[in-house]
Symmetry: C2
Subunit: 299 residues, 2 copies
Amino acid sequence: MSLPSHVRLIEVGPRDGLQNEALRISVDDKVQLVDALTAAGLGYIEVGSFVSPKWVPQMAGSAEVFARIQRKPGVVYGALAPNLRGFEDALAAGVKEVAVFAAASESFSQRNINCSISESLERFVPIMDAAKQHGISVRGYVSCVLGCPYEGQVAAEQVALVARELYAMGCYEVSLGDTIGTGTAGATRNLFDVVGAQVPRDKLAGHFHDTYGQALANVYASLLEGIAVFDSSIAGLGGCPYANGASGNVATEDVLYLLNGLGIHTGIDMDRLIDAGRQICAVLGRPSGSRVAKARNAG
Amino acid sequence: MSLPSHVRLIEVGPRDGLQNEALRISVDDKVQLVDALTAAGLGYIEVGSFVSPKWVPQMAGSAEVFARIQRKPGVVYGALAPNLRGFEDALAAGVKEVAVFAAASESFSQRNINCSISESLERFVPIMDAAKQHGISVRGYVSCVLGCPYEGQVAAEQVALVARELYAMGCYEVSLGDTIGTGTAGATRNLFDVVGAQVPRDKLAGHFHDTYGQALANVYASLLEGIAVFDSSIAGLGGCPYANGASGNVATEDVLYLLNGLGIHTGIDMDRLIDAGRQICAVLGRPSGSRVAKARNAG
């Protein structure tokens, strides 16, 4: 067993998390959340999304959030930019890194973003060109990598095709997302084995949802496959409203607890992280989705 | 990676689970729970505990429960018998297998059962003698194997000493319990590595609590160490009232989901298992602690 000595956690709570919460929160509260996450030592925070507020009202005000957060040197503050219009808005807001996303399942792509997988990849070409021109790095997401709400099983080979395309077009890292949380440890290992033959493993990240309680087992399985980057969400905020039954992202606190236990370095302060989660849960009026936070608050 | 092809799940919900629920439930409801678990295909069900109802009122009526459950051939219906008096009561109730428990931490032993570890082991000698005489098999539990609420870290070597004693005195299997749920995957692997040098691995079981969300990752880590028996609790019932912050046992449904995903045979029917959990949660008026059950009920 050889595990990575360092892991980077990509905090997706302010974007993927809040986007899927019923309550819309103020720019003030978003800024406070991002600043609290910065203080906790996160190295990458996905701050918002540059999409039409008509489609995703929770992400309105992302430009203002970017203008007001306190940026700490060395920390990446990313944003989702699903199309060129979004990319230009992100650029105007001073964003230095954007993310694009494709699905590994045709049905999910059609129902979620109204186009085929290959059409979605074509749409990224002008974004990649513009990003290169402006020195912006681009991260790629692939959704439904371990199951699709419409198609059921998704072949790892299909995921590999999409991941390879994203990598080939210039994404510096590709995050593989188990959108509906049906993946288990063996399938996770097989996924990274198959995709890892097409994209270097140090360019891959794992993104797990805890819908069926499997997320941390999948993180551990990924670590055993040499994966050293994971997306997670403070207090387990969010999920995917387009996927039937899908609930929260794996909680950052719980992933950190696992990594700390394994002696893997992250640079994140657990106490401050739990504070950040407590704050945003108070704003949202919801209990934390992190078991670590619950256990700490009960103690 | 070589995983066991078959896993035995030890259903501890009716005992370890209900014992730690605030609500006392009727003998009727207990019988219905055990029968539902039998119907779901569990091969081992810990039905109750023969202790003074003064100490554990939730376990009152265990003899009546044993008298009324529908026993399916091949299924083991076990009971906790912490002392000779309990053993005799269990024997009178027609119990064919009992369990005894010791702690791996001196402080926990003192506070939980009011004696040292070695005193607790001495108390088991007459039970083991009586069990042998009556052809009763005895299962051993060790608690606090990955952390103690009073002492913090517990050395795996200390767990190995206690496990070896239980095995040497005739326990056919020793279950290692992470009572407070602070164990992580690496510590779990080390634990089975160290204890496995003293007790054959096929005589060891894992018993994990999900207090910090680590239970399934620990189950997967144990499987990688060749462990093929796990204790779990329907709907994640229970926990340990004596351990600060300790909450529920890992949910049987969630462990089964992991094992099914890994292609490991258990003989358990997921739908019937979820039904059993739904029934008992309705009786208790509490939500399920199983993420699988929650996802299924939401779908």
